[in-house]
Symmetry: C2
Subunit: 464 residues, 2 copies
């Protein structure tokens, strides 16, 4: 499969060397059969180790097999573009958003004018977010625009507290507020986005419906299931075992009566699409297992890969390792220094590089450009030139530095505009404005539509 | 030990037969060494079985040993009377409230004028409560009066849902509202009592502090601990494992800033006294284990025995076995019928009864009189007459019927006066009015007292 999926306008050919494969395919070729298993859970992400003791990159194809999700193929992207009228996001085009569950079904419904909502989240483990954290959020923002649907963002301060040996709940709550401002600055629509912090979503009575769903989900989940899904043991705490019910309950429209109305039977059928990094999949597998028994529609999921660490593509950026990450708070100078020393796929000497060419599959600047450079033609030009040895390491690093500097400084400007009031607005349970699909391909019968609208109007008037 | 503890004004001698021992001592004599173990957990209560296959009554002395609590002795009752100025409740005098943790320490503090609060609760498993349910509440009402302190009553609708195969959360919530009205009708002071339903205590923002404590407690409790304490296994659900943190968190004054104020450091030192049936002890053992690590004062506990089933003293009344219980909704006629056929300690024939006398230790009417007849002299007269065979079974049943009819009909009248508004008032998070000890034996230094009062006043004014 090519670096850029053929579903986009710019179709490309596979590069001249066999190493020109997308991140999603990197390890499939690299990992030998007797390698130590990779680990991808919400609590631990690392590629395997081969028999020579060398760390290998994460094998995303293998994750699709293990998790039982489906690869996003050209046909799905074509359908996505047809239904939304939007060109697939660069992360979709490049296989960085690579796997899904039931997105086809969701597109079918959207096409018919059935509304849905987006849900994603963040575990606030520190007050500073890095560019790796923004990857699923950038993609989510794009989905919100493409579909014109409401979005719920959950900040799991309690989860981070449950799993940390040193953080207090107050720490995590403070981080959540700071992260909220950062997330808002990514550019979410204030009229279509509701954000909540777990420990605060008991405020103003608005959390009653959500906490109801948490309890019903918790009752349906056994200790055995959590052990099987997350690998916890009997020395883990009960809050860690209990938390998955919370992350699951947030995927049901009935948790948000202030957005979707009080008619639980109708709201139970509103589907959810969850954009998230692949490590969050275990939570939602569990959620999907129980959803139908609870008479709720199963959420659809769309998975992204991890932005690799500056230290190399074997693992993801880590908030606790400052030299592995570019922070949203980094200065231009810091970004330049970090990219300057990051892991390179170039050859040892200029001569060797000219002769053998660079390895884009392990070259961090090239990998970052796949995430952040919008222009497909330019990206392809860079890939070809670097692999042929025509482009030097210093050049590709300069291009990457420029792109990331532009990205982070634009973020910085938007971040300055986010006030305490802005954060408060996003955190306030309220009705959201969204159109959904403005031109559904198949209308409901007029009578059904009139009934639905009348019902909804009556609800809205009653709560005015 | 005599039926009536010598700490009261009416001291009595042991009865003429060796069977005249209090409920708390019943099984100590009766249970042979090789008997099948009794079970007393929040989820299962039954006496053991002896080697002949005969059910034996619950051995409360053994529970004190197993649970590691302390017997309430005459010295403690004497101190209780001295400190509160109130004659010990008949259940205290008769060993029906028989065991405790740290009540001595609590009395020391109360004597010095340090305030505390009472906390008890109910699991709403059905819409009808029986007289067995009112036992700990009757005693709690007495404590509220004797100490003049705030009381918190928790209705655990979620707990009952988590553990039930058939009840929905809506069922349990409905039961909670109905039970709330019944509990109010027992006679709690509306100015000193706050009652909450678990799934609603996320309303109006008032549940934030409580839910904070739930999370911190949950983090401190491992799966191993819950297994050890409650005997759950891996096929139990995560909500069952999680719930004990909720019941524990309710024992901390910091969970109720609207009652005690926002100064967390000060409020963390306000102790709690939990009156409850002995089967709830495992929850609070766990709570006490973690309290100090959370920098909260350990709650004190005071345990009551169970009101025996109409079918016999081997087990407690059960809400699911209508012939085992007298309901608060029973008519006078139903009460008469039920007492008429309940388990008797009388002899088979009138002649045998006159010769051998009745056995008060297993006679249900006598046992009920110990719970409900206030007059110690009259109770002692009945015991002596019945054991001597001078009083017949029909007579003691008639006395018991009369007492229970008076009790239930008085309840019925009070229950009629409880409106939806009354329930709403009790369920509203609000400031409570209480004096605590009006005449503390040891005053704080004037300066400390002035500082405390000024601080509290400032708090109250700030939230006005």
């Amino acid at each position: 499969m090519a670096d850029i999926l053929p579903a986009t306008n710019e179709t490309t050919q596979p590069g001249p060397t066999s190493t020109a494969i997308p991140a999603a395919d990197l390890a499939a070729a690299a990992a030998p059969k007797h390698s130590k298993e990779q680990i991808v859970t919400p609590f631990d992400v690392s590629g395997g180790v081969d028999e020579t003791g060398k760390a290998v990159v994460i094998d995303y194809d293998k994750l699709i097999d293990t998790f039982g999700s489906r690869r996003i193929d050209a046909a799905l992207l074509e359908r996505f573009e047809k239904v939304t009228g939007h060109k697939p996001h660069r992360m979709l085009r490049r296989g960085l958003v690579f796997s899904h569950r039931d997105v086809g079904l969701l597109l079918d419904k959207y096409e018919k004018g059935i509304p849905f909502f987006l849900y994603t989240g963040r575990g606030p483990s520190s007050d500073s977010m890095h560019v790796g954290h923004t990857v699923p959020f950038e993609f989510t923002r794009y989905l919100q625009e493409a579909f014109n649907v409401p979005l719920v963002i959950m900040l799991t301060d309690d989860e981070k507290f449950f799993h940390s040996a040193k953080l207090t709940l107050e720490d995590c709550h403070r981080f959540a507020l700071q992260n909220a401002a950062d997330i808002i600055a990514i550019g979410f629509d204030p009229n279509k986005t509701f954000m909540f912090i777990d420990t605060d979503f008991v405020d103003g009575g608005s959390g009653v419906a959500f906490n109801y769903n948490v309890r019903v989900m918790g009752k349906r989940t056994t200790i055995n299931q959590i052990k099987g899904t997350f690998g916890f043991g009997d020395s883990n705490n009960i809050a860690e075992f209990g938390f998955p019910a919370m992350q699951s309950a947030a995927a049901f429209a009935t948790s948000y009566p202030f957005i979707f109305g009080e008619d639980k039977k109708r709201v139970a059928k509103i589907p959810c699409l969850i954009p998230c990094a692949i490590d969050q999949d275990p939570y939602f597998r569990q959620c999907r297992d129980n959803a139908e028994k609870m008479k709720y529609v199963k959420p659809a999921i769309i998975h992204s890969v991890f932005l690799p660490s500056l230290r190399g593509a074997e693992t993801k950026m880590s908030a606790s390792d400052t030299d592995s990450s570019i922070y949203l708070s980094d200065t231009d100078k810091q970004i330049k220094r970090k990219i300057g020393v990051c892991f390179s796929g170039g050859q040892e000497t200029r001569e060797m590089h000219r002769e053998l060419g660079g390895r884009t599959d392990i070259d961090i600047p090239y990998q970052y450009l796949r995430f952040f450079l919008e222009d497909d033609t330019e990206l392809e030009r860079i890939r070809v030139a670097y692999e042929k040895g025509e482009m030097e390491t210093s050049e590709i690093k300069a291009i990457c530095t420029k792109e990331l500097t532009v990205y982070v400084s634009a973020f910085r400007d938007r971040r300055k505009a986010v006030t305490e009031e802005t954060v408060k607005h996003f955190l306030t349970p309220r009705h959201l404005d969204y159109t959904g699909n403005p031109f559904p391909a198949i209308q409901n019968s007029k009578q059904t539509e009139i009934e639905t609208l009348e019902k909804r109007l009556a609800e809205l008037r009653a709560t005015q």
